[in-house]
């Protein structure tokens, strides 16, 4: 991570912090403080935390608790009536083929994120060395990740149309087709996953670039003197140097692939076998009023993502996670 190396100074301030706090409170209140002043001092941090904690609990923790509770019921989200159904919703998710097939769709996005990470790594590496028009290429690669998702969806709906841009471009290379790219499940999913590479590559690229640039330059110089080529520099300096970002990117990509929503929803609405987990959940909850079932689905997704995070943390212990 870009500030992985700031960790040590942070610890230092933390230390001076706790050391410094004590003498100060002694200095400020030499005599036993009056009771009102003491209560006030105990309350101060909580006054700062009041709004943040209220929002955090209302919009993150209360929903999680409710969601788990709903997932064991047949609630429709509207009526006051609600029955406890045990694990029925969960059995339904794992046994009904049409509900379970959304997990296979994630496979396309998983493959896409592998391609995306490799490509981002490649471009970040070559652009961290001196190259002409470096800033131009940097900007071009990064810009898509700032663009509105709906606009991207429309841009690519037009791009993949029958006889649209993509067909025209293929025609220029002598491959004449008039293909409905979004017309069959396999080619539609490949196209959508391609769009998500287009959209998110720049974000990974910039993260990698930042991490590579925080590697001290002398390391390359020393390596060059030792006769190491570009590949060896990449293998033995860059790769280990950016490991924390790399693992973070992998985990974000996995959870991103599982929760793909915008691009497929905007472009196909989940038609022709492109329905993803989140599209399905949104439809179950807000179109078919199956709040119970949708909650169970969301719990499953949440558990998978937490599991992936946990596994990643076990495999690559990363001290950077501690917030303070």
């Amino acid at each position: 991570m870009a500030h992985a190396h700031t960790h040590t100074p942070a610890h230092r301030t933390e230390q001076t912090n706790s050391e410094a706090v004590k003498p100060v409170s002694k200095r400020v209140a030499p005599a036993p403080a009056p009771r009102r002043a003491r209560t006030w001092r105990l309350l101060t941090p909580w006054l700062f935390l009041l709004a943040p904690l209220a929002l955090l609990i209302t919009f993150t923790y209360a929903p999680i608790a409710n969601m788990v509770a709903y997932s064991f019921t047949d609630w429709d989200g509207v009526s006051p009536e609600l029955h406890y159904t045990g694990a029925e919703n969960y059995t339904e998710i794992f046994t009904r083929e049409d509900l379970f097939q959304v997990f296979w769709v994630s496979g396309y996005y998983l493959v896409a994120s592998v391609i995306q990470i490799v490509a981002a790594l490649y471009f970040a590496t070559i652009l961290s060395f001196s190259i002409r028009f470096r800033n131009f290429f940097k900007g071009v690669l990064f810009f898509p990740s700032l663009v509105n998702g709906v606009a991207i969806g429309f841009v690519f709906l037009y791009f993949f149309q029958d006889g649209g841009t993509f067909d025209t471009v293929l025609g220029l290379f002598g491959y004449h087709t008039d293909h409905a790219w979004l017309g069959t499940p396999a080619s539609a999913n490949v196209s959508l996953a391609g769009v998500s590479i287009w959209r998110y590559l720049g974000m990974n690229f910039v993260l990698f670039l930042g991490a590579i640039q925080s590697i001290p330059g002398e390391l390359y110089e020393a390596a060059e003197l030792d006769g190491a080529g570009r590949w060896h520099q990449f293998r033995y300096i860059i790769l280990p140097g950016i490991k924390p970002v790399l693992t973070l990117t992998v985990i974000l990509s996995v959870s991103g692939s599982l929760s793909a929503f915008e691009i497929p929803y905007i472009m196909t609405g989940g038609a022709t076998g492109t329905e993803t987990f989140v599209i399905q959940t949104v439809k179950l909850a807000f179109q078919f009023n199956k709040t119970g079932l949708a909650s169970a689905a969301a719990v499953v997704l949440l558990l998978i993502i937490l599991l992936v995070t946990w596994v990643q943390r076990r495999l690559v212990p990363d001290d950077r996670v501690d917030l303070v």
């Binding site: 933390e14 929903p63 690669l141 841009t165 993260l207 974000l252 993502i305």
Partner: protein, 276 residues
């Protein structure tokens, strides 16, 4: 040619290929937005130039009939309030966590940390019920509350910066009789400027581009933000690619301008923002 020269040529070739892949779809949409209805309908091909390069007719249609003015207004309002709120809330949280030792401090930190692991999309079914019961459904306050309430990234960014502010500044002010609120307002907050810039950029772009939350929580036509208003083009303009393209360009253009103007800060912001 030496091997090194070949390698160099291949590197440039790959960069040019990537540039084409990025720019081609966007460029085609720009061309299409300048074409007339006849030009897109007769299938002259996506890569042909429009007859009149200054034909802004579609932009007028998209802007007026697509309700883009309302959309930009709603987006601006939500953007300003929720980004302002995020800055306040994030900096206050960071200040409280870093500068005070109090009971349950570890628990509070853990609560914020764990929340960072929960992707917002997964809890939306239940969050919806809460927003509904608070009477915020289909108002601009629903997205505002959600954007402010779940932003762990900005808290993390602020925390990094508060930590780097020397504690001796606080102490000096305290000796002069300043209380915690004065210290926060007069010392910490002004010194957080770089962090505030980062949060404003990262959060601002996220809010401007978000589709999911306004789509779920503000179905009313007149509450459309730019994402949802553009999404509605799909119905009435289904076959009118020239209008849809104009709408897309209208939405992308502000992003491009901001990007070109603030490039350096945006890179920095995103490097910090994504490293939670």
């Amino acid at each position: 040619m030496t091997r090194r020269a070949v390698a160099r040529a291949l590197v440039y070739l790959s960069l040019i290929a990537a540039t084409l892949v990025v720019l081609l779809p966007l460029g085609v949409v720009l061309l299409t937005s300048l074409k007339t209805e006849n030009e897109t309908a007769n299938g002259s091909g996506a890569l042909t130039l429009p007859h009149d390069l200054l034909n802004f007719h579609n932009y007028v249609t998209a802007f007026r009939d697509g309700g883009m003015l309302t959309a930009f207004g709603n987006t601006a309002f939500i953007l300003v309030v929720s980004v302002g709120g995020t800055v306040l809330i994030g900096s206050m949280t960071a200040y409280a966590i870093d500068r005070f030792t109090f009971r349950f401090r570890k628990l509070v930190i853990a609560l914020f940390l764990v929340a960072a692991l929960v992707p917002g999309v997964t809890t939306q079914v239940a969050t919806f019920q809460i927003v509904h019961s608070l009477g915020m459904f289909d108002t601009r306050w629903a997205p505002i509350a959600l954007y402010m309430g779940t932003d762990i990234v900005s808290i993390y960014i602020f925390l990094q910066f508060v930590r780097s502010i020397p504690i001796s500044l606080d102490e000096a002010a305290r000796l002069d009789g300043a209380n915690a609120f004065t210290i926060y307002r007069k010392i910490i907050f002004p010194l957080l400027k770089p962090a505030i810039a980062t949060v404003v950029i990262v959060k601002g772009i996220a809010v401007y581009n978000d589709f999911y939350i306004p789509f779920l929580y503000m179905p009313s036509q007149d509450l459309g933000v730019i994402s949802t208003s553009l999404f509605r083009f799909k119905g009435p303009y289904a076959a009118h690619w020239e209008t849809i393209s104009a709408g897309a360009v209208l939405v992308i253009l502000p992003t491009l301008i901001v990007f070109l103007a603030l490039q350096k800060y945006i890179y920095n912001g995103f490097m910090r923002g994504a490293t939670r």
